[in-house]
Symmetry: C2
Subunit: 319 residues, 2 copies
């Protein structure tokens, strides 16, 4: 079975680990990773979501934190502070810096982000084929209004520095309109037996991937059933501040509103948490088969059960 | 008093620390640093000699080692090895990496190496004005013949990787012929009251600085007395493998041969170690006033005494 998953960072990566636990060795998983979170820091290209997937599936992630490396050291960051070179608000550990140095060196040498990602995965062996959504630069910016006025800031500045404490007025995937899907992305979607939307952020993770011209159309046109998992449980994001960016696109932070935001032209199935069982009817009324199952990734077993439920729903809607 | 010193790495930096100990607060020291040892590693610009001077005078040097940072960590290097990205033979610690990341970011942004060096020194406060010999790229290569044939390797590969175990057949300062002295270099030399050649490598450190068109001529034409200190004691380099590169330019590894290599057109005075007192006559016969004094930088006092002897000789030859 060929499974394609669109994925953001922490939530997507953890779900993918559960997915790997339930597939057979013959199954192939292709992950299309969000690169809208990418940022240039200290002259280096940082790809937070790709790295979170790579580190999580490759066994190098800081488990409790969900991002960055286990057993990390922080010498470079301390030195940057001593040099007065910012930003200070983005946490790059020494081991993580090495990834960005290697990536930047390869990009400067002329390799594409796809090629670089493949090279990094030679070490990490994530057990999936990890493709960036695009080799072109796409950067999600967020329009905000605060004491400094109305302006657009990089998504990372909004998320990490400002902790999404101010309302997001608009989400702007800068460069997405002219970006091309990375090699293999459209082919993987077209050839898929199942397409999954993990419980990643529907706006700035999966939404950004879908904003690359051709990808939404390919998912919509795919023969494979498309099944998503709600990142909203009980009216709030399980992790992160997805409600803030949902509000920016006029979507309520509820399990059913997210499903309707994706829409029946994309989704062939939707999973909500058991505590959102009341949302099933609204989703099905929109033409999207829906099931209520436990969606908290509390441990490996719970996560695997979610992946199994997603694959089961895909089989049900296929026939 | 305005003192100008040409300097390589470890030996030059340690001498400069002694020099700082004997000058008055009103004296100004300008250091013209060798950049022929510079190398691009992992896509980053590394300036070993400038950094050794900066770290040594700024209090950040690894004292026993003579290069690199005190209390260093090595996470990035371990990661590079895990990624299979070399070279492994060049020791860059995490703190040191930070310097190269900041430097590379600034260079990419369009700042000159002079400007970058000045910016880095805002933190390190070396107590001297540190100028790179040139803002243009100069790389010392060494011609060798070994089992892989005859070829030119980067000086760092010769020195650090091959430990100068094979003979150097030629020293080639690639790019030196078209390099321009960095802003302030010629002016500092012309305005100097004293010019010093620390006991740095006469070929690949001071020799490379002098190979930048205009610098040798400026030193030769300067009104100030030029006094050098022999890096060779008892027929061998105090540190490093200077004999190997001296042989490449046909100069014997003796205190007097090095003086004659610089020549009376450059030198107005030369210090040899007391155990090389027998060389004084030969140096003076070539028209270069010479003194035998202890030249081992065993501690701060011994180093300060060397600097004092150099300044005293400069005063003697001035009149």
């Amino acid at each position: 079975m060929r499974i394609v998953a669109l994925a953001g960072g922490i939530g997507g990566a953890r779900f993918l680990r559960g997915l790997k636990d339930v597939v057979t060795p013959e199954d192939e998983i292709t992950v299309i990773g969000n690169t809208g979170d990418d940022i240039h820091l200290f002259g280096l290209k940082v790809c937070p979501d790709l790295d979170t997937v790579m580190y999580t599936l490759g066994g190098g992630i800081h488990e409790e934190q969900g991002w960055g490396r286990a057993d990390e050291t922080w010498s470079v960051k301390a030195e940057m502070k001593a040099y007065g070179v910012g930003p200070e608000w983005f946490g790059l550990g020494d081991k993580d810096f090495a990834t960005h140095i290697v990536r930047s060196q390869m990009l400067t040498a002329g390799y594409s982000l796809s090629q670089v990602t493949e090279a990094l995965c030679v070490r990490w062996k994530p057990g999936v084929r990890l493709l960036p959504m695009s080799d072109d630069r796409v950067e999600t910016h967020v329009r905000i209004t605060d004491s400094e006025g109305t302006r657009a800031v990089h998504f990372q500045e909004y998320w990490v520095r400002l902790h999404a404490a101010v309302d997001a007025e608009a989400i702007i995937p800068v460069g997405a309109d002219t970006a091309k899907p990375a090699p293999g992305v459209l082919e993987a979607i077209a050839a898929a037996d199942v397409i999954l939307f993990p419980p990643s952020n529907p706006v700035v993770s999966i939404g950004t991937i879908l904003a690359v011209p051709g990808i939404r159309q390919a998912v919509s046109a795919a023969a494979a059933p498309v099944v998503g998992l709600s990142p909203i449980i009980g009216g709030a994001p399980v992790r992160g501040m997805a409600d803030k960016v949902l509000a920016a696109v006029g979507v309520a932070a509820t399990a059913d509103a997210v499903a309707l935001h994706y829409g029946a032209d994309l989704l062939d199935g939707w999973l909500v948490d058991t505590q959102d069982a009341g949302a099933v009817a609204a989703v099905e009324a929109a033409g999207i088969p829906c099931r209520a199952v436990p969606l908290l990734m509390t441990d490996a077993d719970a996560t695997a059960a979610m992946a199994r439920a997603a694959l089961e729903l895909a089989e049900q809607v296929r026939s």
